[in-house]
Symmetry: C2
Subunit: 348 residues, 2 copies
């Protein structure tokens, strides 16, 4: 069974880790040897598992709308959060960065009078230096990501949604801000009026993303921010490759596409998702998330605390799974991932 997850940062990374490590039905992992792949070719799935006799793999398509230039270096916050989480390097306290990292370079930059509001640790900095150097050598972001994830021994395929420039821009009461400026420097306090995407007209999903989606038996939208983590991925993805589009509720037609709600009890587990729903005119709720994904998602996963919304979500034509969705421990992540896979498997 081929699983493709769409992910932003912390929430996406947690579910992706669960999918990578999940016990049954993803048991019996058989790992093919690593191989280098040519341009435009889909990296062979490095996590494979036998499931009813079929060998499958896990591919995580990651938002790059948050990417930005930091002192001339290409920083990909969501790719790095997923990479560090899957590589077992993530700082579990902050969700971002490398556990135990030091900040000597950042302090030295500050002493040089350079801009230093974005917290980049020394080990994290190595990733940006290496990635930028690969990009300057003419590698794609996809190839750079593959080099990094393979070096860290990650047993899943991470794909940036696009190799092209694509920037999430947040229009606020304090003007239009680049995403990291809004998110980190302004601590997501400005009131959002609208979100737009620089480069959306020209950016294209990569051939690897399209192949992974075409070969997917099921797609899982991680509990990431719908507006700034998942929508960018959907924006660059050609509609026909999203399998449920003619599958309606997916009984018989299409392939399942599931979403896990990032809103639990009216709150975002992390970050500004709930605040964004409110500022954009929606009451933040699992149901609002389901409405946001209406027409795309066939299977919806909501927390027990929101069980009262299950009927409304089913009325949107979605199948539902009510379970514990808060992922604190690695065990939580594996359990939720296994439940979600079991849920979509019926229709895959």
């Amino acid at each position: 069974m081929n699983i493709v997850a769409l992910a932003g940062g912390v929430g996406g990374a947690k579910l992706a880790q669960g999918l990578m490590l999940a016990p049954s039905p993803l048991q019996g992992v058989s790992r093919p040897p690593k191989m280098r792949t040519g341009e435009g070719e889909l990296p062979s799935p490095v996590t494979s598992f036998r499931d009813g006799g079929r060998v499958g793999g896990l591919t995580i398509i990651v938002n790059t709308g948050d990417d930005f230039e930091w002192h001339g270096l290409h920083v990909s916050p969501d790719l790095d959060t997923v990479t560090y989480t899957l590589g077992g390097l993530a700082n579990s306290q902050t969700g971002w960065g490398v556990a135990g990292d030091t900040f000597e370079a950042l302090g030295a930059l500050r002493r040089l009078g350079a801009e230093a509001w974005f917290n980049i640790g020394d080990r994290d900095l190595a990733t940006h230096v290496y990635r930028t150097s690969l990009l300057r050598q003419g590698k794609t972001l996809t190839e750079a990501t593959q080099a990094i994830t393979q070096a860290l021994g990650i047993q899943a395929t991470l794909l940036p949604m696009t190799d092209d420039r694509f920037r999430t821009m947040v229009e606020t009461d304090q003007g239009t801000l680049e995403f990291q400026d809004y998110f980190v420097q302004q601590r997501w306090q400005p009131v959002i009026r609208h979100i737009h995407f620089d480069g959306v007209e020209t950016a294209r999903a990569t051939p690897q993303v399209i192949t992974a989606l075409q070969q997917a038996d099921a797609i899982i939208i991680a509990p990431s921010n719908p507006f700034v983590s998942v929508d960018p991925i959907l924006k660059v993805t050609p509609t026909p490759t999203l399998p449920s589009h003619d599958g309606g509720g997916c009984k018989g037609g299409g392939r399942p596409i599931a979403a896990v709600s990032p809103i639990v009890g009216g709150q975002a587990l992390k970050g500004p998702a709930a605040k964004m729903f409110a500022e954009l005119g929606w009451e933040p709720s699992a149901y609002a998330v389901a409405q946001h994904y209406h027409g795309l998602v066939t299977h919806f996963v909501l927390d027990r605390i929101d069980a009262d919304q299950e009927g409304w979500i089913q009325a949107l034509g979605m199948q539902t799974l009510v379970t514990d969705t808060i992922m604190q421990s690695v065990e939580d992540r594996k359990r939720l991932a296994a439940e979600v896979v079991e849920f979509v498997k019926r229709d895959a």
Copy 2:
């Protein structure tokens, strides 16, 4: 009195620090306010001192033939050694790098499978990131150096010899090597056949270098490697700006240009200078250094241990100063610098 020093790395940095901190005759330091300067304009000397009623300054012209690209970052080893030494940040044990620096980013790069033989600490890395970012914004290396040295409060003007590409290439029994490859990766063990300079036909001394040389009352060649630290500076500098060229021994004509021997007792104090003399067919000695600079240098400073060579050096038409030239402590550096300034002042 305007002093211009020509410097490479460690030896040059030590004498430059002595010149910056020197007591009488550089007493009575009067420091004008820092100011930003426009393109091509000589940064106003930030160390100034009254000397016989004249206000002067210290400018250090630094070799950039050792510069190289490290994972897409522009590294200027000699500029950084002088900067860190004058800024009081240098690692006095190694001579290079920042005291107390950590190597987390380098370790992380190694784990990513990236090339990591050049030792760059985390704080040092910040310099390369910042400089590269300024260069990519269209600043010159001169402007980037000024931004860095001013941020560190350095009370002297550091100038890279050129803003153009210029690379010292070492032809050895193991092939032609870039300088840092020869010096760091191969630990200067290959036998040198010849040295050449990539870019020497097109690289030009900067306007700031030319102005500083034109305004110099005296030039001091630091005890740096003649072949790979000083020759690159001389190669890009137009001959008429070197003041002694029609001054002969400088009695009455021209302005003094002094050299401090980097060879003491037949040995280099640091690095491959003695080995290079031998491999290029010269017996390494203070006299060999004087012969190397014959026709340019008017004043020569040699160590007491080499006092027996004083007559031969005088026979080359140079005035001589025999003194203790080994600079271990900061006090040594200040004392030697003051003696050298006193020595050239008679003819300035």
